[in-house]
């Protein structure tokens, strides 16, 4: 008995202490919770802002009936951007909203958005664009002509093939301005471009068959599209060479970058200061640039290319991304197969 009294007291004390601690913890949690509640994260605050802004949008939409046409598009632009802002706001508030409130807000926004699009199609009919197009079309000459033609092309889905051909020719003529040197659609010809024509300009070679082209000078960019069985010799190109859809041809050029797409069986005598990439191409052979002409060193300087840096034999293939094995789509042309003299 004697020994039980102190332990009983101890028990009581312990129970009391535990109870105090427990209450303390509860109190503490309460406080923490209180601190966490930010005014702006309360439902009422959100509702207040969100629905008052919805009301503003609604008012704008209602006002469209009485506003002059010229101001309509401005209003609709405002409505659009306001809706986007609200969407973001709603999305960001997701964490503290209850499912029901979230859904209600979403529905409200959806209805507004639908109303806006309906009103917009009703009040600003697409006609406006059509009219604009036609006007531009009639005044011709303008360069915007090109796309407008294209648009018309696409809208009218049933076009005869020869019609398309005509359109294409017209497009090419329209699209390439005075500052582009072009050689288009030649067969079995020997063609030469001089420095005064090409220096600092873009050069386009397109749809050539069995032609030999020599370009003495430094184009800014060189485009070669749809060449078959051609030999093309070019001076140093300041920026990139873009090759697309070329077959059974050989090229010699110096450049900063080369991007070669959908081509087969081409040999490139290359001087490249940065990197070359190929994509969707096979049977590509490379060798160092070996075409020379009188003014070439000056042209290297003019193009800003370093004649001493040449990465001709490191090519990246977008269809072959493993590093362990070299791409089967390109290889170095064996020295005895290389062209020794271009004359």
């Amino acid at each position: 008995m004697e020994s039980s009294t102190p332990s009983e007291e101890g028990l009581l004390e312990r129970i009391c202490r535990r109870d105090r601690e427990r209450k303390n913890i509860i109190e503490k949690r309460k406080e923490e919770k209180q601190q966490l509640i930010v005014e702006s994260e309360q439902l009422s605050y959100f509702k207040n802002i969100f629905y008052s802004r919805c009301k503003t949008i609604k008012d704008w939409l209602d006002s469209t009936e009485s506003v002059p046409d010229s101001k309509l598009s401005k209003i609709f632009d405002n409505v659009q951007s306001e809706i986007i802002i609200l969407k973001t706001y709603l999305f960001d508030s997701k964490i503290f909203l209850k499912a029901y409130d979230l859904r209600r807000a979403q529905d409200t926004l959806q209805i507004l958005e639908n109303d806006a699009t309906q009103l917009e199609t009703k009040l600003i009919p697409r006609k406006k664009f059509g009219f604009k197009n036609r006007r531009v079309f009639n005044t011709s000459v303008q360069s915007s002509d090109v796309t407008d033609d294209l648009k018309d092309l696409k809208i009218a889905e049933s076009i005869a093939t020869n019609g398309v051909g005509k359109q294409n020719n017209k497009q090419i003529c329209n699209r390439y301005g005075d500052n582009t040197c072009m050689l288009l659609g030649k067969v079995d010809e020997k063609l030469v471009l001089d420095a005064e024509n090409v220096n600092k300009n873009d050069v386009l070679l397109s749809d050539l068959k069995r032609c030999t082209v020599r370009v003495y000078g430094t184009p800014n960019t060189l485009h070669m599209v749809s060449l078959v069985q051609c030999t093309v010799l070019i001076g140093p190109v300041t920026t990139s060479v873009l090759v697309d859809n070329c077959h059974d041809s050989q090229f010699a050029f110096a450049c900063q970058q080369l991007r070669l797409h959908t081509s087969t069986n081409c040999t490139i005598y290359l001087h490249i200061t940065s990197r070359a990439i190929i994509e969707d191409s096979t049977k590509i052979f490379v060798a160092p640039y070996n075409w020379t002409y009188e003014d070439q060193m000056n042209h290297f300087k003019l193009a800003g290319l370093n004649p001493k840096i040449n990465n001709w034999n490191s090519i990246d293939d977008f269809n072959w991304l493993t590093k362990e094995k070299i791409s089967p789509n390109w290889s170095v042309l064996e020295p005895d197969k290389r062209v020794k003299s271009w004359d």
Binding site: S40, G177, Q257, R259, N319
Partner: protein
Amino acid sequence: MGLLTILKKLKRKEKEMRILMLGLDNAGKTTIVKRLIGDPIDTISPTLGFNIKTLDHNGYKLNVWDVGGQKSLRTYWRNYFESTDGLIWVVDSADRRRLEDCKEEMHKLLQEERLEGATLLIFANKQDLPGAVPTKDIATILDLESIKTHHWKIYKASAITAENLLEGINWITNDISKRIFYKN
């Protein structure tokens, strides 16, 4: 200003923006990024995959994702859409041959649900070249007027002369901050 606190909390690292740089190959995306951060621009190679650069600009931290534009990479563009605040579309103004392609690819992007609400900045790049199509015409060809789903603006630009690069970045950061850091 209650919203500000929420958004800041959400953005954790405050005033951070994610900018996605896209465009056809050879448009000059990498060159623009390198120009902005002051790296040399004469040894740039075609981008295999992507580069990420961080820019500190007007107190904002811009994470710029520069993704390659080759055809085979375009299918991977969508992997970068998530939580993009701003989109920079780079156009090679001198490449008349592919402006129509450029328009199609851009409008395809704007349909993307995950890019909804992202601010769109268009750089009509390479305007230093004599053969460049004027910016106004590029806006017509790309049919920018029809874009209602995004805030957009086009700038006449050149990565070589650095013309308008900063102005463009200023505009896009301003527009984004108005949206996500919400000022009344």
